[in-house]
Symmetry: C2
DNA sequence: AAAATATTTAAACGCTTGTTTAATAAAATT
DNA sequence: AATTTTATTAAACAAGCGTTTAAATATTTT
């Protein structure tokens, strides 16, 4: 990868992303962000006006990525079961590449009516996915048991995301290293789809 | 309930529990804890020496409760399937009564060798539960599919705990109120055991 | 009741925080 | 080349933080 010389604003943003994800809003200090970016403290406010605004920008982008990738995978035009397997596989890889994202997104979420996050219309996005439609169709056709699609989707996402949220505890209880944790999570690529499908197939 | 006049130390501790669980270590301020307890700021340090020590005490107790309740349920001497249903039922109720606990325990976890949390030997506790033994027996007897017990247990706990960790997002995407969130979680008392058992039964 | 100890308080301490200022350096415009 | 604008800096600011102090009050012990 060609690491071209980044302009100051980008350097700050990348440093902020790193520091905010590792420490959360309260735990992150502007001086730490500035140091990480190799830049004077004042420049953070010069480019982003305030810690709060910088955070909002980072949070919005992270949230969009976190739920956006899911929404995209849910919307693929592949048969239902294939999609479940593919989604779990792809999203596991995504989380392995961004292991701090789930905890950050879920622990730093703040509700406010006119927040950018709300304007994403994530609600409608998830509710109207191809995945949801297919699931409803299969249930109506009698191929799957009568199940609440929300229960199914949150079971799947929850199983997928949980190890990353609970990573320190999981690592401790399971005596994992970084490598064996990765193995553990990769094994779930098989376990989770099998679990979801086994549940749905029982009529 | 008879709310007898609490002594100062207890008042501070309960206030600290409340404030730490709601805001985390960095977000919690001693003056807020003191106010919540209706007590002078200096008394917090008088009784607990430092914010750090107060936090450690709260965290240890919360962690013990969070994992201890699970360990206890995993150790009940009931048949495997009955236990799965009972565990999900009881732990859901426990989480409904302590909705902030999972996020607090998982986001504020810090590893350190001689921490009180480590001395709980939670690892050995979970690994040697009746649940684990039963699961292994059933698999060896050919009644259940060949599954990694850790995968099963973390799928179950993860499904159980996830809605509480992701509550704001789940609430938003699902258009839940506090009441309908509670309904949603209670429905999982059936979904989760069925999912786990459906998975295990496929050979 | 007097003395000793424990509890509580208001005030201040020193440090870190996010933020701003005012001066300097660099770049762009004229 | 002179001027204006933009970028960067060191330094300071006020506010908030966890913590300590020293005096006042309450309680316990003698």
């Amino acid at each position: 990868m060609a690491d071209e010389p980044l302009d100051t604003e980008t350097k700050i943003k990348e440093a902020a992303q790193k520091v905010f994800l590792a420490n959360g809003y309260e735990g992150a200090k502007i001086r730490q962000i500035a140091d990480e970016a190799g830049v004077n403290v004042a420049l953070v406010n010069y480019y982003f006006r305030s810690k709060e605004q910088l955070f909002q920008q980072i949070y919005f982008e992270t949230f969009s990525s976190f739920l956006g990738v899911i929404a995209q995978l849910l919307n693929e035009e592949t048969p239902f079961e294939v999609k479940v397997w593919k989604l779990v596989d792809r999203y596991t890889d995504f989380l392995l590449a961004n292991p701090l994202m789930p905890m950050f997104v879920l622990s730093e979420y703040r509700q406010s009516e006119q927040s950018p996050v709300r304007q994403l219309k994530m609600k409608e996005m998830i509710r109207s996915t191809v995945f949801m439609r297919q699931l409803n169709d299969e249930i109506e056709a009698g191929n799957f048991r009568k199940a609440d699609p929300f229960q199914v989707i949150f079971s799947m996402i929850g199983s997928l995301v949980f190890p990353f949220i609970a990573r320190p505890v999981v690592t401790y209880v399971g005596s994992f290293t970084d490598d064996t944790f990765s193995v553990f999570v990769n094994e779930r690529k098989q376990v989770i789809p099998e679990m979801i499908m086994a549940y749905l197939r029982v009529r």
